[in-house]
């Protein structure tokens, strides 16, 4: 019984992605904001959202497979949420039944505990199948169609009746029939629970039963009663194990189902919130890794929208055939936000989700890395440039062709000439290795070095600025300019405080 809602041919498993580079990525793209929106306070959903997001998948088929399943979910949101609730309930049942450790020391208790649990599970499996019976026709994706068909075939009434019959028998109301052999010292061993024969059957003379001898434990003989119950425990041990494991297998099935549904439920949560803000979402068109496609309209940073709780500015992008995108321009002009929106859309696409845009298409990437300038970090022992270079070197350790690197003001911690040269060396090497780079920079020297070489595979974008210095937060195509309008920002800061500290600010202005 396989769920297969995440992959056509295998189960989805949670792999904990924890490494310094992953943590950088999470922090730089502010992914936690997104996952919190997907989780709505549920730790499990958060975990699943996180790991599914980070376990980005690299094949187009799977992405399209999930897109179809997600479309089904969006269309039948309440059914999917109900099914999820049923599965969660089943798993809770198991926790309640086994968590108290007392059961696990005696096979008899394990056996009766497992019988009790499976009796509940049979009901839940029946209920789960009824989802298939009632709603299968409303679902069109390959994933759900297969899943519902499987439920109907594997969990039919005949099968559930056999299970119930076994469970009744395993209550051992007629006593436990246990076979044994003589071990060393003539002490019994290999105690094995046996299924009693139907007592009504006819027997040939040579099948006649052996003599039966019997005895009873004196009711006052406490140690005898204890010894006998241990014998019984030894007898049911293997069978109890088999049944408890079976219960676990059923729980595992529920767990897999919960895991895969959790991903879609978390997607539904995000979908609801973004659409409530009036933001568009769309299913992206993935292209093979080897191609260089990047085409978007109305691409925005969903985290920004979620945090500010309002519709944010979207951008258009056409970077088809480009390996390198260099973004320059006004400070606080939306460059970092734009860079993040590129990264987030890429990750959402690669885990099979919709993306925050009106339309979107891009080539897949092998892995995504971020190298953002750290501004506030004061705990560093080594110099800032050392730290930056070290981080870059860590990334290089992991890089492969067709990966993607997002750089945000990298190597700005040193003077422009040095920083530019370092960056140029690194980026040129990346291009040689077919690694896609999006680079936000203030460093004119660095940007210009690629401008003068007139390479076809480089795209220059610029944060737009109106003539009065006002920012539109639009990123448009444009070659780098030698100033980054720092003065604008500077002025803005000082103008607002001018009234309070006119002398000091004018002093500083005159410095410049």
């Amino acid at each position: 019984m396989k769920v297969f809602l995440m992959f056509r041919d295998h189960n989805f498993t949670l792999k904990k992605q924890r490494s310094p580079l992953v943590e950088e990525l999470v922090k730089d793209l502010e992914l936690a904001v997104l996952w919190e929106a997907m989780a709505l306070g549920d730790d499990y959903l958060y975990e699943v959202a996180r790991e599914a997001f980070l376990a980005s998948c690299g094949d187009i088929e799977t992405i399209l497979y999930r897109q179809k399943v997600l479309e089904d979910c969006i269309r039948n949101a309440s059914i999917v949420r109900d099914m999820y609730a049923l599965v969660v309930k089943a798993i809770e049942m198991r926790k309640r039944s086994y968590l108290s450790g007392i059961f696990s020391r005696y096979p008899s208790s394990i056996l009766s505990g497992a019988v009790g649990l499976l009796e509940v599970f049979v009901e839940m499996l029946r209920e789960l199948r009824s989802f298939a019976d009632r709603y299968a026709h409303r679902f069109t994706s390959e994933g759900f169609t297969r899943f519902f068909t499987m439920l109907q075939e594997e969990l039919d009434d005949a099968y559930l009746a056999i299970v119930e019959e076994h469970l009744r028998e395993l209550r051992l109301k007629r006593g436990a029939l246990i076979s044994a052999r003589l071990g060393r010292g003539n002490v019994g061993e290999e105690y094995t629970l046996r299924k009693p024969r139907d007592s009504r059957g006819w027997r040939a003379p040579w099948q006649r039963r052996s003599p039966v001898y019997s005895f009873s434990i004196d009711p006052r003989d406490e140690s005898g009663a204890k010894a006998l119950s241990e014998l019984r425990d030894r007898g049911v041990n293997i069978a109890a194990n088999a049944l408890a494991q079976s219960a676990d297998h059923v729980v595992n099935f529920f767990e897999s189902l919960r895991l895969e549904l959790a991903f879609y439920v978390s997607c539904l949560n995000l979908y609801d919130q973004l659409t409530a803000l009036g933001e568009p979402v769309t299913f992206p068109v993935p292209f093979p890794k080897e191609e260089r496609k990047h085409l978007a309209s109305g691409l925005y940073d969903p985290c920004l929208a979620l945090v500010t709780k309002k519709k944010v500015v979207g951008n258009d992008l056409d970077a088809c055939g480009k390996d390198l995108i260099i973004i320059t321009g006004a400070n606080q002009g939306g460059k970092s936000t734009f860079l993040r929106s590129i990264g987030i859309a890429q990750l959402m696409m690669q885990c099979g989700m919709f993306v925050p845009a009106e339309s979107f298409g891009a080539n897949l990437c092998e892995r995504l890395f971020t190298h953002f300038r750290r501004r506030e970090d004061t705990t560093l022992k080594s110099g800032k440039l050392d730290e930056e270079l070290k981080r870059m070197s860590d990334i290089v350790d992991e890089l492969t062709p067709n990966a993607m690197v997002l750089c945000n003001e990298s190597f700005a911690s040193t003077n422009e000439r040095e920083g530019s040269e370092i960056a140029r060396q690194i980026v040129s090497a990346f291009l040689d290795r077919r690694i896609k780079v999006v680079f936000v920079t203030h460093q004119y020297e660095f940007a210009r070095s690629f401008l003068v070489s007139k390479m076809d595979n480089v795209l220059f974008l610029r944060a737009e600025r109106e003539s009065n210095g006002k920012r539109t937060f639009k990123i448009v195509e444009g070659e780098p300019l030698q100033t980054s309008y720092g003065e604008d920002v500077y002025r803005k800061v000082f103008e607002t405080s001018e009234n309070e500290l006119p002398e000091k600010s004018s002093l500083q202005l005159s410095w410049r």
Binding site: N11, R105, I162, I178, K195, Y213, P219, L228, R234
Partner: protein, 514 residues
């Protein structure tokens, strides 16, 4: 034919064993032999009482050779391994027999007795098999092998083995069923009912994905029946009467099945195994052991790359390296006088000398690449002791009393080891007394090692060899632990140390301007 011994050749004074005092000899602690013997017998003492063998140095060369031969054979790891397997088997036999004696319920007792005999037969046959295919050469092991091969072909053994096997087969075939319903138990034969766990697994197979948690409770295989099991066993015996009555008869017939020679071998061979096991880790570290040439006439002794076994064992467990030393005596030389800086390995050297001779007299391989040693009659040691307040003598007097006792007992075949005596007196007195005692020792013609700060002692006679502990020439505070045969020049070291602290004559003159 008497019992074959792998420790004592026929005609040797095995009966001396009876006279060995159960506690260790006086010199054991001084020489570090107590540490060696305690460690190597530790895991075996309770079962084999080996210590007594280590307390009895052999007095004739033939007996030493007899043991060296056996020990050499046992250096073959395969042989040693198969003998260890045999010992483990015999250990199991004893445990099972003791258990059978201790138990209360008849079927339980008889079951364990059968088990003990089965283990015994298997163990003995296995040993005979390994011995017959191994290239042993020692007189001791060859004699035992011959005996053993005869024994396993004897009708006594063959009958025992066949009866045992048949009974075990018959008992293994017994299969029965219990029906436990509350406090009531029914017992009957097993009638091919299906295993319920298989049914369960089949039913839930479709949910199986990967390995599941194990819910089985681990029940130890029970050894002793309780009264419920005993009751069940009684009823099982009624279901299968023939098997159980032949078991009863078998137990009565074979009450003493253990062979005396086999049992003796099992104990005595532990002497060798214990020693070889003790030195094995040192050998793996590259330290060498050799079979010494032992003489009871010639005092031209020598040892190359030898070391203190007890110390080496301790250093090895601390991960430290061991320094080896050489020594020899030739012609009329009889005495080593060891001097030099403290903590430089002087006492270690003295111990090494004593250990080597003692271990050689047990027939054991000794630390070193080659060794030629003397077969002593007694070893005497005089190591500095804590002052005993119950002793009415003063320290000096005490030293002299002990020395006197030694000198009255020692013969020309004795070994005397002296470590720093007379250091409670003035140098002048120490020199005087030492000289007196040295003369008596030389007169005795005994072998002696004398550790002392009285360097003059080293040049008293040409029958005395001076050995000096040394320091690293670059840094005098670093000891090399090398003891070299060279003149005792108490000064060289003092100069080095002084220089380090800028306290030589010249340095002091430099520092103190006129």
């Amino acid at each position: 034919m008497g019992v074959i011994s792998v420790l004592f050749p026929e005609g040797s004074k095995r009966e001396l064993l009876q006279k060995v005092p159960p506690s260790e000899p006086d010199f054991f602690v001084d020489l570090g032999l107590d540490q060696i013997v305690n460690t190597l017998t530790a895991s075996r003492e309770e079962e084999y009482h080996l210590r007594v063998f280590f307390f009895l140095p052999l007095q004739d060369i033939e007996a030493i050779r007899y043991r060296q031969e056996v020990m050499r054979d046992l250096e073959d790891e395969n042989l040693a391994e198969s003998i260890k397997t045999f010992s483990q088997g015999m250990h199991a036999v004893r445990t099972q027999l003791a258990l059978s004696k201790k138990l209360y319920y008849k079927h339980n007792k008889e079951g364990w007795f059968l088990e003990a005999v089965a283990t015994y037969c298997e163990t003995v046959e296995k040993l005979a098999h390994s011995l017959s295919s191994s290239a042993i050469q020692s007189r001791g092991l060859c004699a035992f092998r011959e005996y053993l091969l005869g024994y396993i072909r004897s009708s006594r053994f063959v009958t025992l083995k066949e009866a045992t096997e048949k009974l075990r087969r018959d008992l293994a075939d017994v299969e029965y069923c219990l029906i436990i319903d509350g406090g009531r138990v029914k017992v009957r034969r097993y009638e091919q009912e299906a295993d319920y766990s298989k049914e369960i697994e089949k039913t839930f197979a479709k949910f199986r994905k990967d390995a599941a948690k194990d819910y089985k409770i681990q029940y130890p295989q029970r050894v002793e029946m309780n009264h419920v099991e005993a009751k069940i066993a009684e009823l099982v015996a009624r279901l299968f009467p023939e098997v159980f009555s032949s078991l009863e008869a078998y137990c009565a017939e074979n009450a003493d099945f253990l062979d005396g020679t086999v049992a003796t071998f099992d104990r005595e061979i532990q002497f060798y195994l214990a020693y070889l096991e003790y030195i094995a880790p040192l050998r793996r570290k590259g330290l060498q052991f050799c079979y010494p040439e032992v003489s009871d006439t010639c005092k031209d002794i020598c040892a190359h790359e030898t070391f203190d076994l007890a110390l080496a064992y301790r250093l090895m467990s601390e991960g430290k390296t061991v320094v080896t030393n050489d020594f020899f005596l030739q012609g009329q030389e009889r005495v080593f006088v060891v001097s030099g800086p403290n903590q430089g390995g002087k006492t270690t050297f003295a111990r090494t000398f004593g250990q080597l001779h003692y271990l050689a007299s047990l027939g054991c391989p000794v630390p070193g690449k080659v060794a030629r040693l003397f077969l002593f009659d007694r070893i005497f040691t005089h190591f500095e002791r804590e002052e005993d307040i119950k002793n009415l003598h003063g320290k000096l007097e005490d030293d002299l009393v002990r020395m006197h006792t030694i000198l009255t007992q020692a013969t020309s075949k004795s070994i005397i080891i002296i470590n720093e005596i007379f250091n409670s007196t003035t140098l002048h007195d120490a020199l005087l007394l030492s000289r007196e005692i040295m003369e008596r020792i030389l007169q005795l013609d005994a072998l002696c090692v004398w550790v002392t700060f009285v360097v003059e002692l080293a040049s008293l006679s040409d029958r005395i060899v001076s050995m000096v502990s040394t320091v690293s020439p670059d840094n005098p505070s670093v000891r090399t632990y090398k003891i070299l045969r060279k003149p005792a020049d108490g000064l060289a070291f003092a100069l080095l140390i002084a220089e380090k602290y800028r306290l030589t004559r010249d340095q002091i003159k430099e520092r103190i301007k006129p």
